[in-house]
């Protein structure tokens, strides 16, 4: 909202960089405190996430999830809505993927199943966002509250379905049967065998995510609907003046947002796990908020931020393997610091930078 006070490169480049630097500085101190060398830690983190094609494949796999959930948050953000329910919407989106795969995988090849899975995940995710969206639009119940509540409802619902309805007969695991080839997306390693992606689960969904980025860009900046969404988000009173219905925009935006979150399930369920299982979302929905904030709710920014968080996920796993005193929990602390500085404290350096860059320079009038 206050953008424009600062040069573009500061707003889009320097501020995210400073946030990141601050996060790593504090992380470095934490690493130092437990008696390890922070530079070593950085080395392993980078080695693990981008040091090999296979490692980078993992990074991209996580990034795919973050792109979807980041886009979901970003679209809602443009309408001034804070969709915290990506977690639940993605979880329920998994149902849409599973329905398509379970129904079709034995009869048709994956590329026939895929459109159904995409549409199914989007519809299920959107449906999960519909009620909070409608409650906000018609009743004024805040989406932050309702979407969080719907995350819990989603968990309970999925627990019930996987336990009692969809479970593979005779299994102790809360999961469906494994899909046949018709319900599995090709891994990048299958598409580019010589590239060396190895066992990395990165799959065709990456391209779906990139296409989604393009479509979201078109939607927000090139369509009438996008204009209405942005108008409503920037100034709701002016939007009403312009004949834009707040109810309509709120509901439609939440549907799109939920649909994008739901599509995350394509990557996890059809791309990697090949079965629907409990708790496959594990925080991707929440991290999407940080991704969207850091990416300035712009698809290009979201891709970059998603890759960064992908690196933290993958590199972090590698790091805790190489430096056992840095436990898995420590990695979560570091990720949390990045989220803290890039998300919650996003504007921490802003006032100082405004003082540095915006102040009166002697200008020829």
């Amino acid at each position: 909202m206050t953008a424009g006070q600062l040069p573009r490169w500061v707003d889009l480049g320097l501020i995210p960089f400073l946030n990141l630097a601050a996060a790593f500085l504090v992380s470095g101190l934490v690493v130092l405190l437990i008696g390890e060398n922070p530079l070593n830690a950085v080395y392993y983190l980078l080695l693990g996430s981008v040091g090999s094609v296979e490692g980078f494949g993992y990074t991209l796999f996580y990034a795919t999830n973050f792109i979807f959930t980041g886009l979901a948050v970003a679209v809602a953000f443009h309408a001034g809505l804070f969709n915290i329910g990506g977690e639940g919407q993605a979880y329920i989106g998994g149902l849409g993927v599973a329905f398509a795969c379970l129904a079709l995988d034995q009869y048709v090849p994956w590329y026939v199943t895929l459109p159904f899975a995409v549409v199914g995940s989007a519809i299920m995710g959107a449906a999960w966002a519909l009620i909070p969206g409608w409650l906000q639009a018609a009743r004024g119940s805040h989406v932050v509250i309702t979407t969080i509540m719907f995350n819990f409802i989603a968990a309970a619902l999925m627990g019930y379905l996987l336990n009692s309805v969809m479970k593979k007969p005779g299994s102790m695991q809360l999961e469906t049967r494994t899909f046949e080839d018709g319900g599995r997306l090709p891994f990048l390693n299958d598409i580019f065998p010589s590239a060396g992606f190895g066992f990395a689960p990165v799959n065709l969904s990456l391209f779906i995510a990139l296409i989604a980025c393009g479509l979201v860009w078109l939607l927000i900046w090139r369509t009438k609907l996008g204009f209405e969404i942005r108008s409503f988000g920037a100034n709701a009173t002016a939007a009403v003046y312009a004949g834009i219905s707040p109810v309509r925009i709120t509901v439609i935006t939440m549907l799109i947002s939920g649909g994008l979150a739901g599509m995350m399930a394509i990557n996890e369920i059809m791309g990697s796990q090949h079965r629907l299982l409990t708790d496959f979302v594990t925080g991707y929905g929440f991290v999407g908020i940080a991704v969207a904030l850091m990416g300035r709710a712009h698809p290009v920014g979201i891709i970059l931020a998603a890759i960064l968080f992908g690196m933290l996920y993958q590199g972090g796993a590698e790091l805790s393997f190489e430096m056992p005193s840095i436990t898995r929990d420590m990695i979560i602390v570091i990720q949390g610091l990045v989220i803290l500085f890039a998300g919650a404290l996003e504007y921490m350096f802003r006032p100082a930078l405004i003082r540095m860059f915006a102040p009166s320079r002697p200008v020829s009038a």
């Binding site: 609907l225 920037a234 004949g243």
Partner: protein
């Protein structure tokens, strides 16, 4: 004044050593020493040089007016004095001593108080609580409050600023809310009182009363800085007037030695037409007929009461009234933004039952009704959008600007460039964020958007609020041109001069009702009385204190 100083001073946060210095300085007021002296103040915002080498001497115990167009730098200068901004260079002297004012707290400590254009009051707090807010002298409220009550009573008596300390702000009319703002400043031991456009929300009679209060303050030795763009007020209230133009202080003269025409010329740097040049109206058939319209707001209060009138093609109907008497709600209802309780409206021959209508602003636009809203920042524009995006706000579904689902950016920008040329919108850059335009140019963006769609009926609210004189002329001319093209125009303005200059007929609104109708050359005094609720003038002005 000495009596005022001797009691109760110590319980005020604002009263520190600095303050005591000024007490001793008070004796010199008759000798005409400077309460405030600004030397060579400069302030730039990016490429905008808002204040250029400003020198200003404000004599102690005087009412000093600062006049200038919007954007002339008045507010910036006062913000520097009140510590909101820091000057790039230059000196500020308070009572002859060089000071730095890092924030408003420091300004208050130096005895500088400010009454903002938009009141800084908590609506659901009482007068007393608002006065004390931020100047509580202990952690527990009770003791401080009772001491504050005594102090407030003394101030009220001394300055004839009577307000019931236990009334909630939301129950007070704006004139009295302003009084609370003044009391707040006095309670903090203000010696210099800055009033920023204080009459924007007042009736002429309330404004006159305010000037009387200022006179009392002056006689008690306070110094008043009156910021305004209204020439009449300067002439009526001030001893000395400084004129600002484009960031520079172009003149400081004794008010008695100057005239409105001279000041207006100084403000814009050329002579200006204060009257609108227009031919007599040639009204034809009604294009807008409103019958028994009643509107209830969200609190269940009737804000528009059984209002009926019409607007004919080729005439400008002005609605005069003090802000907050239902005009805004009336306009919003006609524009499809607000729902009516009952009544009907006939536009271009089509009757709409307003009580059951679900037509929104887009539907009303489709019926050829344009709307320039009263508040362009809140409603008429989206400040974070580019100029070209704002140039289609409300018309973005028009096939001329879209291809199916998509916006036709080429057509939109072409249209925006055309409007920029035709309306002389500066800077002429459709990609620029709307927030970067000056008030007058922002208003031109709105006006261009609404007028260029060739509406049959145009609702115009406060077309020149916060707009400089040069742009006012232009905007008025456009509105008259639209009238001459045979369109019906409904104008709402709290500027009586504007209503009188533009309107072919004047309706007067008070308390949600239309209380009178006058012709083209309505008498200003009479309009003023009607606006204040005619039968009981005194009551509307002063009696509402209780």
């Amino acid at each position: 004044m000495e009596r005022a100083r001797s009691d109760g001073r110590t319980l005020l946060i604002g009263a520190n050593d600095n303050d005591n210095d000024k007490v001793s300085g008070l004796g010199e007021r008759m000798t005409g020493t400077a309460a405030i002296e600004l030397k060579n103040i400069n302030k730039s915002f990016g490429p905008v040089h808002a204040n250029k080498n400003i020198d200003l001497v404000v004599k102690k115990g005087s009412i000093h007016g600062i006049i200038g167009e919007n954007g002339a730098g008045k507010s910036t200068l006062m913000s520097i004095l009140y510590g909101f901004y820091q000057a790039d260079n230059g000196d500020i002297l308070v009572d002859g001593k060089k000071v730095t004012i890092p924030d408003s707290k420091a300004a208050i400590a130096m005895g500088i108080g400010m009454v903002h254009q938009h009141f800084m009051l908590v609506d659901n707090f009482s007068v007393l609580e608002n006065v004390v807010l931020g100047a509580e002298d202990s952690a527990m409220l009770a003791g401080g409050l009772s001491r504050a009550r005594t102090e407030l009573k003394r101030l009220e008596e001394e300055y004839e600023l009577r307000v019931d300390p236990d009334t909630l702000i939301q129950d007070l009319p704006v004139g009295l809310q302003q009084r609370v703002e003044i009391l707040k400043a006095l309670y903090r031991s203000a010696e210099v009182l800055i009033l920023d456009e204080p009459t924007g929300v007042l009736t002429p009679a309330e404004a006159d009363h305010l000037f009387k209060i200022l006179e009392v303050l002056k006689n008690e030795g306070k110094t008043v800085l009156l910021i305004t763009h209204k020439l009449r007020e300067i002439m009526a209230a001030t001893d000395t007037v400084s004129v600002m133009r484009r960031g520079e202080m172009v003149a400081t003269v004794a008010t008695a030695d100057t005239s409105m025409a001279q000041l207006a010329e100084l403000m814009v740097g050329r002579s200006v037409l204060l009257r609108v040049d227009k031919k007599p109206a040639e009204p034809k058939a009604p294009v807008l007929e409103v019958d028994n319209l009643t509107v209830t707001d969200s609190r269940g209060v009737q804000v528009v009461k059984d209002v009926s009138f019409n607007v004919r093609a080729g005439e400008i109907v002005g609605i005069a009234g003090v802000s907050g008497n239902g005009q805004s709600e009336l306009m919003e209802t006609l524009a499809g933004i607000r729902r009516a309780t009952r009544g009907s409206m006939k536009i271009n021959g089509e009757t709409i039952d307003m009580g059951s209508s679900t037509l929104d602003a887009a539907d009303m636009r489709a019926k050829n009704m344009g709307h320039v809203p009263e508040d362009r920042h809140r409603m008429g524009l989206i400040n974070s959008f580019s100029e070209y995006e704002n140039s289609i706000l409300g018309y973005h579904r028009d096939p001329a600007y879209s291809n199916g689902l998509f916006l036709d950016l080429g057509a939109i920008k072409k249209n925006a460039v055309g409007e920029i040329e035709k309306y002389d919108i500066r800077p002429p850059n459709p990609m620029l964020k709307t927030a970067s335009f000056s008030g007058g140019n922002q208003q031109k963006i709105v006006l261009a958007r609404e007028i260029e769609r060739d509406p049959e009926v145009l609702l115009v609210g406060q077309p020149t609020r916060g707009v400089d004189i040069g742009a006012i002329e232009f905007i008025h001319r456009r509105i008259v041109e639209l009238r001459d093209a045979g369109k019906g125009i409904l104008l709402v303005s709290v500027e009586l001069d504007e209503i009188r200059a533009l309107s072919d007929r004047v309706l007067i609104m008070f308390d949600g009702k239309i209380v009178g109708e006058r012709g083209e050359n309505a008498d200003e005094g009479e309009l003023g009385l009607l606006m204040a609720g005619v039968e009981d003038k005194k009551n509307a002005v002063e009696g509402d204190a209780r």
